[in-house]
């Protein structure tokens, strides 16, 4: 085992409750595991309530209801009510599809604090193509209803090569919809996005242009709308401080009750991720092999081990190290100090070639039929 027990264990602050892998959308950059169809089980209402109570007692305060599409759970309002009674700040992270005005009111009464709605693009044609479902108009209507009922609203747009050219229109759409926050989430290449990377990764020139436009707009809307810009780490020379450090802050519970230090950790070999049906959150967080695996710095290899930035970025992302280097202990290949940085540069070059030649492989959409092939 990599990490040793009891290294400065801080309590969880962020609980991501992935209520269901079911989703009416088929976004080809979904962060759910490729083989999600293997895990059709969902926790019961009582299981979720127990998880919420236990994590809150340890100090978790931000709670994300996510998925898949969390609205597919009929007990969502009951879970929101329970969360509110415990003192969580509840975030609903949704496609908006299937969100009626009645349900918006019901969730508000149950104590939901905030709704984050995703929109795939600024035009109906592209939105519906990316979502694999006709959702654009419904999402626009839902955004108006969210504001009408007094919620803070985050509009989340995942950015990639198919929509990055729409940056000016995306910004304008967010302003018109009255978003309080716009999350411009440059695609992170895990799960389905990793599979579709050649077709999704923008060129460096596209990133630079899009970021310039977003920065200028940020100043224009200062005081009205905040913009969160999720950095495209492939084009950086230092890795992200993934999850604020393994097992320090974030706790994800997958639909079947598997507890994960990040939502991609299921892809890592040999972690034996524990299930909330077998252990309490306290046991999982403090005692489990999984959550102690990459705590501290003992597990690190060179160049991380002797690096003076190791407590700043914690060696970057373990999933990215595994996906690119086949070694989850190695330095995140995004880092310019990594001997494997050439793998990231090759991925950028490959996507660029695919962009310039115009013959990218067709996108593989996230749905059960495709998932069953993994």
């Amino acid at each position: 085992m990599a990490g040793s027990n009891k290294i400065n264990i801080t309590p969880p602050r962020w609980l991501l409750a992935e209520l269901s892998y079911k989703c009416p959308l088929q976004c080809p950059y979904c962060s759910n595991p490729l083989d999600y169809a293997k895990y059709p089980d969902e926790l019961s209402t009582d299981d979720w309530k127990r998880v919420l109570s236990q994590a809150r007692k340890m100090g978790a305060v931000q709670l994300g209801f996510s998925g898949g599409e969390p609205l597919t759970r009929q007990d969502l309002s009951e879970l929101v009510r329970h969360a509110r009674e415990l003192g969580y700040y509840s975030n609903l992270i949704t496609s908006g599809y299937g969100l009626t005005e009645d349900r918006i009111i019901e969730l508000k009464q149950a104590g939901l604090d905030h709704i984050q709605i995703s929109i795939q693009a600024s035009t109906q044609e592209l939105n519906d193509h990316l979502a694999g479902t006709e959702t654009y108009q419904r999402k626009q209507d839902v955004a108006h209803l969210i504001k009408k009922h007094g919620y803070p609203m985050v509009l989340c747009v995942v950015i990639h090569r198919e929509n990055i050219h729409q940056m000016p229109q995306i910004l304008e759409m967010a302003e018109n919809l009255g978003a309080d926050y716009l999350e411009l989430a440059n695609t992170q290449y895990y799960g389905w996005a990793h599979l579709n990377r050649d077709a999704l990764l923008p060129t460096r020139e596209q990133f630079i242009e899009a970021e310039k436009i977003a920065q200028a707009f940020k100043e224009k809307v200062a005081g009205k709308m905040k913009i969160y810009y999720v950095v495209p780490d492939f084009h950086e020379d230092r890795p992200k401080a993934c999850m604020n450090g393994w097992g320090t802050t974030f706790l994800t519970i997958a639909p079947d009750g598997t507890a994960l230090p990040c939502h991609s950790a299921r892809e890592l070999p040999g972690l034996d991720c524990p299930n909330v049906k077998d252990f309490s959150i306290e046991e999982i967080w403090n005692e489990s092999k999984t959550f102690n695996f990459f705590r501290g710095t003992e597990w690190m290899q060179e160049p991380c081990r002797s690096c003076d930035e190791k407590l700043k970025d914690f060696g970057g992302c373990r999933c990215q190290a595994f996906l690119f280097n086949g070694d989850m202990y190695s330095t995140d290949p995004v880092c310019s100090k990594s001997p494997e940085r050439h793998r990231i540069d090759a991925a950028i070059a490959s996507a660029r070639e695919s962009a310039l030649s115009g013959d990218a492989k067709p996108l593989v959409f996230r749905n059960s039929k495709n998932s069953k092939q993994f």
């Binding site: 100090g59 305060v61 931000q62 700040y89 975030n91 604090d113 984050q116 803070p152 985050v154 005081g223």
Partner: protein
Amino acid sequence: MTINPDQLIQFSPLHRLQWEEAQQKYVILYPEGMVELNQSSAEILKLCDGSRLLSQIVSELEEKFATSGLTNDITNFLNVAAQNGWIQQN
């Protein structure tokens, strides 16, 4: 954005001010984020309930902590709070 001394100050309906037992401190909660507050910041924000002017907040806190000369510190903090969207004036 600066505080208008003639208008009531209220806490933003899009944020939540809450005591966190696990952290033994007040925090501001908002979409996917949290700010931890020190004691004096929390004392000021607790009085931003839409029923007080700047001068009333100052005098109440000066009385509570048996001190004087807090006007500048409180005004500066509330300006920052307004810029962050934690409080508002209508």
